[in-house]
Subunit: 256 residues, 4 copies
């Protein structure tokens, strides 16, 4: 039996975190969340009306079943990110925040300096901070040292569906980290999610690939299986790769 | 609901075919077969004693539940392959054969000419022939035209765990084929199997990666999920890849 | 000093073979051939009027400086290819032929069976045969055994500019071959040509990437340098790759 | 004719920068520098005795022909790097510095925060700063905004010979940069260097692959050609890649 994923002392059975952007309706989103088996659902603070109980996104998420993880998507510097996080807490959200600081609107890549700065402030204020970062092993270590609850390196740009294009760096981050590594951004297919888990990542976050799929509910289920497949294979002990072939049907019965 | 995989008129719910080489014991093999959900299990004819009901491999496979698919592993030319197939039928096996002709013992790569020759003979004799081939789209088409029941292009050399290193060619084979395409050889992790299915392959065959895993039963279960994840994602409609990012948290609520 | 490339007993200093399709004019083609340093220029037999000394392509190539290598481009089966080769010899060409048999007009992939058949006939008739093939190590070996002067595996489909997408298979072909290995098709940039040479290929053939470049003459020169760079690096002894870093500036002066 | 590479107002014909670590002797190093055509040679400040005119490395480099670019290799934080740079200037070096801050000895990856901090100090003190960085487009932009003379993103870890494993990120850095982009670290073969130049990089820096080659002088020459090939191809206009084939020998003579 696998042990649970533990983030900041809280345990989760599912290793698939879900984003809520880009769904065509709150109904489609609800069905996808359900099918994904996810226990952590992230919501862009700039998109929701925190004070409005009728907000279409918030009211669609049953917070007794899912951890609502506010994110600072759209923040262009540390101050904007900090302000968004504080607003969420003031409105009654739990003090968890997925920290995103992306000055460039074209590739939405994270800013290492502003992310560190915001993380430092928010951690001091008692937030549980999950920072979205470039696949930079030294930056990941610094954030861990500051007290980040996880590190969330990108596989490829948000919404690009390109998969894990930063494989070498993510492998080093995983090797060195003492907090959970959650591969975020760019995972466009269950095989990408499985690959991350086979490498030893602790979890993945998926949004676009599910939200814009032909059938988001079916895609959510597919990603759930992909994540489980990769995790189980990691635990079962994957073989190493070889340059040459090795007969899978040797002539001498069972191996002894 | 997915439609079943149909090979030569026979329907299968599972799209994961299993090889039986390299397991450490018949007990380990049995548990892995069970966990895989597979309905087609391939056995090297040179390894089994067809006339011996106590043969450790054959007696471990419940042929009322699994299609026993004899393979000609070890055959170095067409005649050896044909002879092995005929022996199997004479001993009471069903007339199905996974055709492997591999003159080179180092990389175990298939011989296109001898494979074609053997396929032609065996199809004329009424066999259901599933040929193992290089990822060669023209060869695949020729085998289909001869009456092969499937084509089974390799992802990478047998037992190498390198995954799909012939992606462009397999994509063309899938595009052109009118018989099921089963990606065979080299699939070393569930992510590789999922990738094949996401590309539109009809099934995959796995052996080494499961047989030599630390825990073969758990790995079989992981591959089962990987295959299902890839298939379901294919059916649910995967998004296309983009060079730039696209915000998964746009500022304007749900897409309209 | 490098030894020359020897094909069928004939020596060449250049390891870059050039195709002549797709140029915008015979003038552009002539300048590109000159700049490439190539000594072997291949011409599609179906495009030229062999009997016509004013043919725009033939008259642009100085056959005292370049080996004119007729190719059977456009042939869809062995018989068409054989007929084209015979016509070329009858018209006074040297008995060299680049054998291309491509039944499918969409990807122009070579047919292994018809290529073998045509090679066998042409070799018996005294032709020097250079077959274009899929990156299939067993097929390459069979052609070598028949007496082919080289093998010419594809990197990716003709004109696709995708580079070497068949790397594992080409590495095996190079390891096993006793005739020159010429990587043909799909090389879209000098880095692709260099990569082939670094792997130990004996030569490369390039056409589209030069012919359709913004400046074909400059591109021909660039490919020439790419081929030389890769060849010289191969001879100079490339280092192996490592997963971790190794300081290039260790603290202890020169290595001892 | 290509325009020269201009860094901080100084022009260079060569786009290949050379590192001096790991050579087996100063004689081998001198010959390799000569063969490379390089005009910028980087030296680890911790390895040389700046005050000693007999220092084996410094005395081997003719500073009337080459720009001696001191680097801070081995510095683990900003202060160490700043101290090394100041020492070099105090000893009479020109105020150029290749800034390397690598806290982790295993992968020698650059620290984004300490690199920024050191860059800021050194630029204020009048140094020409060329920072070695992870392939992080936002960090690159910040360094440019601070006044860095170039940005030098890594292809893969130093000395790993793995080539460009950060391709997507480097493409974005090139797209956005207004200072020269020099791809540094991990380039193990001329094809890697050519690839960087084809992508539009302004220059590359190579050390290990040349220094530890079987024949460093020949390898330096090969890299020189690789860099030139890639640059010239970039200027000549590379074609785009296609999924399908396109006949390089169409049946209708020259394109019109």
């Amino acid at each position: 039996m696998d042990k649970p994923l533990v983030i900041a002392g809280r345990s989760f059975q599912s290793r698939l975190l879900l984003g809520t952007g880009k769904f065509s309706s709150s109904e489609a989103m609800k069905r996808a969340i359900e099918a994904s088996g996810s226990e952590v659902v992230t919501v862009a603070l700039r998109r929701v009306e925190l004070e409005n109980p009728q907000d279409s996104i918030l009211s669609a998420i049953d917070t007794s079943r899912y951890l609502l993880l506010p994110n600072t998507s759209g923040a262009r510097d540390a101050l904007e990110a900090v302000r968004l996080a504080r607003l969420a807490r003031a409105a009654g959200c739990e003090p968890w925040v997925k920290l995103e600081v992306t000055p460039d609107p074209h590739y939405l890549l994270p800013d290492p300096v502003e992310t560190l700065k915001a993380a430092e402030i928010l951690i001091k204020e008692g937030f549980i901070v999950l920072p979205y970062i470039n696949a930079d092993p030294i930056l990941a270590k610094r954030l861990e040292d500051l007290g980040a609850a996880t590190v969330m390196p990108l596989g490829s740009p948000i919404g690009s569906n390109r998969g894990i294009r930063t494989r070498d760096s993510i492998a080093i981050i995983i090797e060195k980290a003492n907090v959970p590594v959650v591969v975020d951004a760019g995972l466009g297919a269950p095989s990408h999610a499985a690959e991350a888990m086979e490498m030893g990542a602790d979890a993945v976050l998926v949004n676009t690939a599910i939200a814009v799929a032909g059938d988001p509910e079916a895609m959510a289920k597919a990603f759930r299986k992909g994540v489980e497949a990769g995790r189980e294979a990691y635990l079962a002990g994957l073989g190493s790769t070889r340059a040459t072939a090795e007969a899978s049907s040797p002539l001498t019965g069972f191996l002894r």
